[in-house]
Subunit: 592 residues, 2 copies
Amino acid sequence: MPTYTAPTRDLQFVMHDLLKVSTADITGYNELEPEFTAAVLDEAGKLATEVLAPLNAVGDTQGCMLENGVVRTPEGFKQAYDQMKTGGWMGLDCDPEYGGQGMPYVLNTAVGEIFVSANMAFNMYQGLTHGAYSAIHTHGTDDQKATYLPKMVTGDWSGTMNLTEPHCGTDLGMMRTKAEPQADGSYKITGQKIFISAGEHDLTDNIIHLVLAKAPGGGEGTKGISLFIVPKFMVNADGTLGDRNTVTCGNLEEKMGIHGNATCVMNYDGATGFLLGDLHKGMRAMFTMMNEARVGVGLQGYAQAEAAYQNALAYARDRLQGRDVNGTKNPDGPADPIIVHPDVRRMLMDQKSFVEGARALTLWGAHLIDRSHRSGDADAEGLISLLTPVIKGFQTDKGFEMAVSAQQVFGGHGYIEENGMSQFVRDARITQIYEGANGIQALDLVGRKLAQDGGKHAMAFFEMVKTFIKENDSNAALKQGFLDPLKQASKDLQAAAMYFMQNGMKNPDNALAGANDFMHLFGHVCMGLMWARMAAAAQAALDGGASDTDFYETKIATGRYYMARHLPATTMHLARIQSGADTVMALDAASF
Amino acid sequence: MPTYTAPTRDLQFVMHDLLKVSTADITGYNELEPEFTAAVLDEAGKLATEVLAPLNAVGDTQGCMLENGVVRTPEGFKQAYDQMKTGGWMGLDCDPEYGGQGMPYVLNTAVGEIFVSANMAFNMYQGLTHGAYSAIHTHGTDDQKATYLPKMVTGDWSGTMNLTEPHCGTDLGMMRTKAEPQADGSYKITGQKIFISAGEHDLTDNIIHLVLAKAPGGGEGTKGISLFIVPKFMVNADGTLGDRNTVTCGNLEEKMGIHGNATCVMNYDGATGFLLGDLHKGMRAMFTMMNEARVGVGLQGYAQAEAAYQNALAYARDRLQGRDVNGTKNPDGPADPIIVHPDVRRMLMDQKSFVEGARALTLWGAHLIDRSHRSGDADAEGLISLLTPVIKGFQTDKGFEMAVSAQQVFGGHGYIEENGMSQFVRDARITQIYEGANGIQALDLVGRKLAQDGGKHAMAFFEMVKTFIKENDSNAALKQGFLDPLKQASKDLQAAAMYFMQNGMKNPDNALAGANDFMHLFGHVCMGLMWARMAAAAQAALDGGASDTDFYETKIATGRYYMARHLPATTMHLARIQSGADTVMALDAASF
């Protein structure tokens, strides 16, 4: 059975050596001293290793059960959930006014990585609650906030997001769920929602559904959509629970993975709902949840790869098979451990260099979100808005690929469910699909974010890369291994953006057909920037006489690998983009 | 639930337009007239669509059951197996002396694609029998052939390959299973084998296990290994079945996929075995089975992608979501079918262009095998030996990737087991692992096949590409879209081989660290060559006034896509290869 140990040293490196959080000029960041964050991460790590990770396979094997409308989560989930509650983990970055601890999002993200690596399906219960919390916190009335937030912050109640219907996912304009206004100001919600994660379960006393529905008078398409709060149990004025609302779980989906999380068909049968935010502005409110959720899914992508990598590494050190071509490494054993073989090394280095780069990118993203929310920095807001589809799309595509690679290290033993590598692959697969399939992320990037605010944020990103290269130009340790490939990759990215500008106007297909490649190209440049920055930070630590030289040297060597082996992909993506839409769209739909 | 229709038109195109089988100077090929092969493929297609495909999900859901040593296959498998037997499909290319139909391997391969696409787990029962048949046919005594082959050709008995043990898969030198010689010339086999596909089941009266074991006096490592025939039931002199042999199935593995096939732990407890081939030359005999099996697994890779693609295409035509950015295509519906969107198109074209290229490569490989076996052509033998790891490794890596891509077209609906796309992904995953994990294929290619016979076969391949380009240089239809990218890709491949020659001598790691990239680079060049040849064949058909112009034009357009969008990968692979082993091997095993 797989095991998991939180990579606290690496998380500390990103927060302190790279992002230097405790000295950043963001409200609340001064609390993030290395000793403090280390204590928090250690505590989270302990819970992850001892409680959550052992339940991961249990959740996969048992799955959730629906009986008479009640969903039973796998054995041990309830106890683990209660331990999470007791530890106060659910409200780590929530508003102190509602009982939260008010910690920055960057710390919440670091902690989140640990929980997600240990047990993704389990962590989704609280992850979705956090999204619903954010939407109510941002768009709710004072009364709504007072009614729902305190219980959601403690984890006593959980939350959901209800968008998808059987016939519409991406295209929400086709939505059929209806909201009929009532005399008392509430609405009656009627319709069916599908793919509702944690839609029904036995972990909490109440579930607060956020539901998109069409209220009269909003017009066609997405314009008519509003967002509603639909509690499973009505909440009395004194905060106690009242009647059961007419929302029920009609079915649980049999899925490829994340079996420990209940994916529900939810039937709203004239259920009582309360408008959240402005009437007919539901899409905007939902996007509050979605952007946060997308960074969170990008995190899931690399967090699953991390868990898979840890186990692949342990196996590669343990499994004896063949001999090192350069001379026996384990003369007393019948064979050498397979980690001696270059192709096994390649797989492990792929995984390691991806995970560490993605961790840096994600925590930097969280840091930008903090800068935006806590300091009102519009540039940071614009930049993270640009990076969100990259973090979601690129990191989940690669995260899945790396989970597959980790499984491959096990050979035939990786295909056997008992060894747990299959679960990492099956669980990781959903991250490429939900919260907007990755094709939608690419579309969001190329069709919306790239040109947002006149292309200002994209230009700022290019400028940031350029400035970094210029500022470090005299750093011989970085020049060849880091700066040169980063410069080339960034040039490729700009050439791709230029191609879109010159060819997308006359035929939008020329941009759309290259969107996926652009997202990946952008991802590699982000990773290259992160690795160059991490190498600079590691070199600075070494130059400053840091004691754990092995850690910093390993960091630099890992970065060199990524730059040498993965940045060359940018040229391929550029070539594909520049081949345009002609070959992509050449066939009639009937000719396939 | 997924459906499947055999791509008979495409198979006919490869056999007749591309390979021109009926006029090839190979024994038995003159029977392969288009009308004849069409009739065979149609018949196979009918069986696949009506019987095998509907059982695919049944096999996945029910799996196999082990009770009191007896393995029960999923409902309907036995009836389907009997239909296959009645149809004579098992012996299609087997020796007429033992009841086979003596058809060329190329036709057997085309038929095999159809069966594998329809139900891979089911088809493995007969696929492994065919491998065992080949080993006995090549290495057996007349008596052994007479005893076992007739019943294997009809499918009354099945066969297995027993290599792997719990502690050794790739490194067979560590094998512990023992063979003790008996006075009557037989051996007592004792040991445990794992991952034995079809090791025990209820489809046939007898199972003929081919087992690798160590007999005394052979020395250390793989040198001491011999191959033995171990029947489940002893065979009496009159051909009737005698005593049950002491070989039993100890357990069935719970796997990620191919649930319909029984993956067994086999316990040999002093079981009676008969030496097959020469004593202590078991590895050589086993490789007879393995090379054939590896091409077969390469076929499984693209055959699963084909089945997944067919369903992705149907979904993309059916699912309404969003509007074509260039103008509504389905004005009467609430949205356009998603096939209008360029990123969906990209995914479908990726799948289609890969599958058709891989089909051509695989059937060409089968044709080379026929040329080698039926005409004793040593050059063909050398070439297919070189191409085997490419067909196995490249096609299964890409086949899996394309199954994932087809699943992605379904969005969230692809993650739900009920829709069947998950099964294609889970089933395809094993092809990258078994019959030598793809890292082993890459090693075989770079460490053995590339330099085999003084590098003669690799040179012949390069020369073949060069000659094709030269011969078609005046063909304006091919020049830009096909010949130029093929030339560039081939240049990259030769540069990579040159890099290995110059740097692999002083440090073998420089070759081994690039082996996987070389395999993929080689794969793309093979696909490029296949597509250029197919385009030339299609153009010739059009020039010759063929009536189905849409088919041939679609073929050329599909090829253009592959050349424009996938051949640029060669430059990336070359850059990775040329970065050498330094970054790959930089870390101590302890520093990970």
